[in-house]
Symmetry: C2
Amino acid sequence: MRIGIDMMGGDYAPQEAVKGVLQYLQSSSPVVPLTLIGDEQPVRSLFQDIPEILRFVHAPEIIGMNEHATRALKEKPESSIAKGFKLLAAGEIDAFVSAGNTGAMMVGTFYNIKSIEGVLRPTISTLMPQINGGYSLILDVGLNADCKAENLFQFAVLGSLYAQHILKIEDPRVALLNIGEEEGKGNLLAQAAYPLLKASPQIHFIGNIEGRDILTGKADVMVTEGFTGNVLLKMAESLYDVATHRGFGEDEYFQRFHYENYGGTPILGVSKPVIIGHGISGAAAFRNMIVLAQKMLESDLLSKMKASFVI
Amino acid sequence: MRIGIDMMGGDYAPQEAVKGVLQYLQSSSPVVPLTLIGDEQPVRSLFQDIPEILRFVHAPEIIGMNEHATRALKEKPESSIAKGFKLLAAGEIDAFVSAGNTGAMMVGTFYNIKSIEGVLRPTISTLMPQINGGYSLILDVGLNADCKAENLFQFAVLGSLYAQHILKIEDPRVALLNIGEEEGKGNLLAQAAYPLLKASPQIHFIGNIEGRDILTGKADVMVTEGFTGNVLLKMAESLYDVATHRGFGEDEYFQRFHYENYGGTPILGVSKPVIIGHGISGAAAFRNMIVLAQKMLESDLLSKMKASFVI
């Protein structure tokens, strides 16, 4: 088991990536071998000693945060992102973590890593802090701006497995985000998705939830299309700043909206763990992303997802 | 000029409606004549003296908060909502305010009050408290769960006029709620709406805004379809409870998310002012709804909207 880390991704790379690796090595047990992908000398020079568990792969090129994803991947085969995906596809690493160009991470995933057979559209999720403690998963949060009912159903299955095996929630309650509580409410998409969710023996579907329930612990997994989900994700992220502005930045609950505290989001529905971090990721976010990749590998989440989509 | 009020609508009617009327009469200047529609004796008995400016219209039937809208309106012609719309259609009142059954208010509006000529779909909006002070308008917030680009464009025109004449914002900045900042981003609907908004000389379009901008004062009018808008409205409403739960219920900013403090929402795009309040409306919400109706009449907003849709 080996996790690959893009050391050049994110606004504070490679310094924060290195700090995150060190935090991971100090705070986690057992630790997994890591492959650090990036401009080798500068990255090495940031370590005082090189722990034995680290391996380096030199990647002299960098894909900038605002570069065109497809073009950059094509024109920069020696970039840390392009190399990371090559290593992942070849099985030299088992998971890949980056806080770099999100578009390039998406395109890299789709070009290099197969979708799980039967999954129509991979998805990304975020953790929404709940007022009564813990987190609920909401998905999709932006990968799929236009969805069909079948996509929402598959997001529910993927999210439910993630909640079960990574968040350790037994029998996670899955809800459809909607604009009314009763069956039959909603836009055409929600109306079409509801019966698919209701009929499935694979998930514990509790029905519709509304906007007021997003933070109140009513559901463990909340399913929606990527437009509404992305707007909610970004609005939720802004709540930490809002609270800080009002002088409540130290509040434990509002702090949980701070991106740093939970790290990155995995692309669900592809056959290997790929975790994408926020551009502003600091050391804690890098550490958390490595921990998440480790959990995904140790729980064998991907095999469970694959088994769920066998026809 | 005369405003009609449904005295039987809302969870705390008629007591809170009566208190709201009294608050309005005490705090506003000049006051507009009011027509109180409801079960006359119980309503009258809640006043110590009857101010001369009040007129009563007896409506012995009540439409419950959970009744089927169309059926209830048909079967209860003597209800306060049915009577209110008859008075409004006949010109005996110039605006109608209710905190009653939202569905019945919608159906009543569409059956009795014409849309403004050229408006494809009337819309409802809400005020989103901004961290730097003031409010921005977001629409649609639930009347139109599925929209076409042309609908979003018309919401922008209606919202811009409302912001200008009611919120008194000169040259309101109109933005398209989206999942990326650049033109071309978004779901199919947002991609199609952007050029319509950009090309219009009727509005001051500033481009896309994202979820993180909803509370930060970046735009005065934010346009989206009724699914996303409704989820955001209800999530925003929950922020007051969240803040209270964390011990910040007294914070001035979070208090502004409390529904009570801004009252109801007008149906925009119909030819007369109809204002719908939250079921939990208390006295202040009733007063604020009456004030809003008065502003809509005094500013002659409806004529300005009609003029905007003349082809």
